[in-house]
Subunit: 334 residues, 4 copies
């Protein structure tokens, strides 16, 4: 959340609104009486150009030990970087694994990338670090897969348009034709690849051709086919799935029916990275809502749709902001 | 929620799926292996025609006293009605006001309406009842008003298309032009009525002409103008508003900014009936989400958009299902 | 919740406070300036004697069909009863099972019990009803079982003392000695029955002797032994258990460790009726709380203790208020 | 939460249970079949002695600028400290105020305190830092104040006994006599200081004598008297209050009655630092629960009691762990 806090729009200041403390000389007087005008002016303008272009996120994992934070922050200081946010986690203080995400702002970063990375890799070697750096200006290319349910897919596309998700949508792939109209209206390419038990290998090959090398993330927005282990191996990028239950409860097919039959008092949704084992991958985000004995399976599905939309969007956003690391089947979400 | 439980789709039975207990002879075997096919078949077909056409909801309020439930249920029984759900509430068991909502199924209801209502009005007189009856087949006509924010408006329209909201959308009225494209794409009439301090009375008169006599409900889906007392009086139907705070906290303008400044740890949204007093009308639905010190005002707005969508949709759905009664500034939501 | 709404304390009226609308002539002026004095006076006095003594709750289940509500409410009206609250549920409107809970107030109920029940059993026969009647003045006798964790046990005893739980505590049985001091201080009998693999049958027989015929409910307040099917059969009353996970996830031993290892983002607690199959009985109540990657197993246990206390207390309260029916492995909680 | 993650009990390892990944050679086989035995063995032993004795928490605030994190982490590295957790926040990336909390483990810390602090104060001067250091082994001395409601007070005392709250309870002060028995049973001194409008100044002076110089924190566990500005000034330590509403809604007296009258659909509780202005101090923690039209004021109070207990305990715990900083009326809770 922190990294969004800078680059406050200048129009807010022109209004005399200073959010983080400070003076606020008659907000209503300056901006006129229209609540909506002010609201739109103050907060909905995009981040100024000097922001994203110079921001990067550094993700690190290595054996824990003394001096890591000091070395990294000293390095960034010497490079002239200003740390915007920094989070760390260690599985154990003495013999654990250490994880760190640091977002920093570095003027002229675009010119200094190569030397920055070369020098950091020296430091990384010393501590035995796995590390990656992401540049905020390089928005991730994302392929979306869906079947016939539109709620997760349209919600992601709407959030993308609103500016909530820093991504480029490469295409939508569906095993059904239904959602083409909606998707194409938004200017996004739609590929219909039908899947039957016999055609599945061929269908997956087709999908791979559209995705491999073109997308850095695949999001299964209620794609109701199980992807093969081979597909997951060959796709070459993370795959986020939304499962319509509170995993590990009701893994597998028809979770709402089974939730109904079991009589649970809360239903949930789970966004996770897809792995070979169905519905067993690292969990990124979950949420639940209270239900009662009077809810039919249809009611559970309706309530669940809202959960699925929210949970998937939060997980995708965390991934796009480079906040998620995976360690021994669990996620660290900074 | 209860009234949705009958009229289970016949296709579920063909699949051998019997939800409320009973046999379920190899669900997967019968329906094939496609999770999405089965899912769609079983639960997403609309209610069969014999359902809505014959269902009505009776809303009653009267001074509490013995024999009311007995009289109403006896009356319905004699008419041949089958009670689908029934809820009641009394403000006090001895000298309170009694409220009741009964949904019932009555074959041939469409032919018997006049005699049914005439006979019930006799009973109602005996107990001094205020009462109304609503027929499920007569979907309420709804006018939507918005400004520039699209999230509440598009969400309502999407839910309408999904079949989640039993309404007919009469038109969208906005004081801005921005949302026309999205709305018209969905086949809904869009009226742009600009509002300035000077033009407000004229603008409200224009809106009244579009609404009065045509709509049975007005929904303010982030309409950022304050409607005058005169408008509310003349519009002749309930008006539901979504306020972007947990009322009564942060009534008035810019609730997210004020929530930020006050440092609350949860932000909320409130759907309420609009009354003369701004943000003081009877609350229909509220919800909140946890936030932290690192959230900027923009973050609060983003999180808040999701709350606003959900809370407004739930309130509108409760109203459309005739579940909301108002008594002394508070709602009873059955 | 409804049945608590009547029997408002007379002291509130003396203060001039009329809650459900009506006049309130300067609340502060009459009662003086002490917030705590007024608060205590107005709301914390026990229900007046004329309340509980005359209240009963009628629970019904039978094949659904027309005329049930009419017949029951007509019967109550003729008996002179005033319905305080009434809830109903049907698994299917045409061929389902119908459930109903009606709380009513009947002056002189204690004298009329036998005739009331005899007459109602006639009506019940007509509709093929299973039915039971509970009299609010007859508080249920409850045996509590615990091991070494004190949080659930002490919380139930504290709520009992506060008047939140309408029960009589028969005794506490534990397979450990630790909690004796705390329990006996509250004037409750404490029986230490150690359990080893060999002594288990004998230990269960001892417990049965303390419970059978004396308790109408057994609550397992973190009792960490699995009760045998024979025990459950012979105990002759419902047994409520609290499981420290969001069932059906993490049934069985060490749910917090397994939740940690799976990396879930929410942990939960589940109160359910104990059945032969461990952790598979009908769920009465559940709740969850958000956790993150930084939570150790100890943290999950700490957070979980709060969930366990709340969820168990709510379930026990619902049971004591005769709000829970069981049908095909699911609960209906009115 | 992070700082609790180290110092894992050695007994867990003896069981062959390695929580953070690693091998786990048949957990059930090694530890025997008793779920409760294992559970207690693995997780409920206290932190080993080498933990708390050597841990400190450094809190910093200063004008934001480059090099702060680098300087602090370099300093800690040179001192031989191992950072256990570190959190930071800046109100603005360029001209904001910077906040940091770092927990670190330093062998022989007890011997090196003076030199450590002297050297750090040099660094602090360079950056214009406000800073404080807290040593985990020095548990904060806390005075509790209550009136007649026991739920918040007993809950804090129970958590203290469970080891959830790192504090020493200096005494309990109440303006009523009721809770003496419960408190003294736990070995805590109980002072009854009655308060009337006339005696208030004298009563506050008495309380100050018991608190000043002896307590580092005062917790108002439903103390129903408003403390004077003079008291707050002279007490010389932070005062945490629990307010029984979702502030800023329903500040002042009788929030549950007012919540009832307003018809809110959620009720809440708020823990905040007490300031001169009643119920307007910096908010530390809040939570809410859903309620409905059928809840009486008594029901709201009962539900609210659970909220109050939880919210106050979380706030006190955060304060005791030195996680809370205050800036311009808002808290930063790391």
């Amino acid at each position: 959340m922190l990294c969004a806090s800078w680059g406050r729009p200048s129009s807010a200041r022109e209004c005399g609104v200073s959010v983080a403390g400070g003076t606020r000389p008659d907000r209503r007087g300056v901006c006129g009486w229209w609540a909506d005008e002010l609201c739109a002016m103050s907060y909905l303008v995009p981040e100024p150009a000097h922001g994203a272009a110079h921001t990067a996120r550094l993700l690190i994992s290595c054996p824990d030990g003394p001096g890591i934070v000091a070395a990294v922050s000293q390095f960034l200081f010497e490079q002239g970087a200003n740390i915007v946010s920094s989070d760390q986690y260690s599985t154990h203080p003495e013999q654990g694994t250490f994880f760190m995400r640091t977002a920093f702002y570095l003027p002229k970063l675009e010119h200094a990338r190569l030397s920055f990375e070369a020098e950091f890799s020296e430091l990384a070697k010393r501590f035995g670090m796995d590390w990656r750096i992401f540049y905020a200006r390089e928005r991730k290319r994302v392929a979306l897969m869906a079947s016939r349910e539109d709620h997760c897919l349209l919600d992601l596309l709407w959030r993308h348009r609103r500016g909530e998700l820093e991504m480029e949508v490469v295409c939508v792939i569906s095993n059904h034709e239904q959602l083409r109209g909606e998707v194409e209206k938004l200017g996004v390419a739609y590929h219909h690849i039908p899947v039957t038990p016999d055609s599945k290998p061929r269908a997956e090959a087709q999908a791979l051709q559209l995705i491999s090398g073109r997308a850095e993330l695949v999001v299964l927005a209620r794609y109701m086919q199980i992807l093969s282990a081979e597909f997951l191996q060959r796709v070459g990028c993370p795959v986020i799935n939304i499962h319509h239950s509170f995993l590990p409860a009701f893994a597998g097919a028809q979770p709402y029916l089974r939730a109904y039959e079991r009589g649970v008092k809360l239903i949930g949704a789970t966004a996770h990275y897809a792995t070979d084992e169905v519905d067993a991958g690292p969990i990124i985000e979950q949420d639940v809502q209270r239900v009662g004995h009077g809810y039919t399976v249809e009611d559970l599905e309706r309530v669940g749709r809202d959960l699925e939309r929210l949970v998937l969007a939060r997980a995708v956003r965390s991934h796009l902001d480079d906040r998620v690391l995976v360690h021994q089947g669990r996620t660290i979400v900074f």
